[in-house]
């Protein structure tokens, strides 16, 4: 599961979706791997405005990466190839192959196996 995915998912439990505590989900016991992807600067430039930057900083921090700048790159910073490359590496190439995503509201754990997170709920949570 790519780091970018964590920016666009939250807890599947109905009551959690409106709770600020449930987003972003927290990685636990994450095994990381790098998977090379084609670098498309235009794609990164387009997607950055859509990223929830605070959530990405939290995720990146929890995975043990150096701190991201406090504010999201915009304007001229998005013409800086190195900034785009670094974001490409973090968002698309950094993958969590095994581990868990944990909801900060209800505590439910979603398993990640061979790179795929499973959000199916046990019947008592549906």
């Amino acid at each position: 599961m790519k780091v970018i995915t964590a920016n666009f998912v939250t807890c599947a439990v109905k009551e959690c979706k409106t709770s600020p505590e449930s987003y972003p989900l927290h990685f636990h016991d994450a095994e990381l791997e790098q998977q090379e992807q084609e670098f498309q600067p235009e794609f990164i430039r387009n997607i950055v405005p859509r990223i929830d930057w605070d959530a990405l900083r939290t995720t990146s921090n929890e995975l043990g990466f150096p701190s991201l700048p406090e504010s999201k790159p915009e304007g001229e910073a998005l013409d800086d190839e190195q900034i785009l490359k670094d974001l490409h590496r973090l968002l698309l190439e950094t993958q969590v192959s095994e581990g868990k995503l944990v909801c900060g509201n209800c505590g439910h754990e979603y398993m990640i196996k061979e790179g795929i997170a499973n959000f199916l709920l046990p019947s008592h949570l549906v």
Partner: protein, 228 residues
């Protein structure tokens, strides 16, 4: 009277388990996006972020290289096949409990999925759950859009030959080819003309466009807003 647990168990046996079994062969027979799906995805602005709910093998993920899609499927085996389509993401999730925040996506597609839900309430709930994730429109901005496809009852020229007035709830065979061919049965609800639009309306959506393509009814919709 069936309960949600009973309905879910029915779909588990007659839809989800079948797709797990036929994933490989099913995927090998699905490679080309349908024209309306292609047009919908190509019309999206660069940088749009959306969902493909019930993505199957992910055949619709490569239509537009300038958007980002979080794809999901109930079948882990299909999700694993869809995972290969970069730069998108694939997760395992249920259309009735999507793991996404509300009002945050530009678009969502669900192609040949809602017809596998076994009661009217669950089919409406599925549409409502997709609409929940979509950015509503405002005076300043057009709202996000969903595209839904469902198998039509009216398909008298297809090899199945069903038409208006026939039974809408059916078990449809899938023959898995190979050394030892095996037949599986999947549950389908066949939509009659106008039914998809009615479901969307009941789910809180406003239909923008609708039609018929390749034995399916389709509709494009946006969340209803207070002033509409």
């Amino acid at each position: 009277m069936a309960t949600p647990q009973v309905d879910a168990a029915y779909e588990q046996k007659n839809v989800h388990e079948v797709y797990q079994q036929i994933a490989q062969h099913f995927s090998a027979t699905r490679y080309k996006p349908w024209p309306i799906v292609e047009r919908f995805l190509q019309d999206l602005a660069p940088g749009s972020v959306g969902l493909d709910v019930g993505c199957g093998n992910g055949k619709n993920l490569m239509v537009n290289r300038d958007v980002f899609i979080v794809a999901s499927d109930r079948s882990e085996n299909l999700a694993r096949i869809a995972l290969q389509h970069q730069p998108h993401s694939t997760v395992v999730a249920d259309i009735l409990d999507l793991p996404h925040r509300g009002a945050s996506f530009d678009f969502a597609i669900s192609i040949a999925v809602v017809h596998h839900l076994s009661t009217p309430a669950r089919r409406i709930q599925a549409v409502a759950e997709m609409l929940r994730t979509i950015k509503p429109g405002s005076e300043m901005h057009e709202g996000g859009k969903i595209l839904i496809y469902a198998w039509a009852l009216e398909q008298k020229n297809s090899r199945r030959g069903w038409d208006k007035g026939d039974e809408q709830d059916r078990m449809v065979p899938w023959v898995r080819k190979g050394d030892q061919p095996q037949t599986f049965h999947r549950y389908y609800h066949l939509y009659e003309e106008g039914e998809l639009e009615r479901d969307i309306d009941n789910a809180g959506g406003r239909v923008l466009e609708a039609g018929y393509e390749k034995d399916n009814w389709w509709a494009i919709a946006t969340p209803k807003t207070a002033d509409v």
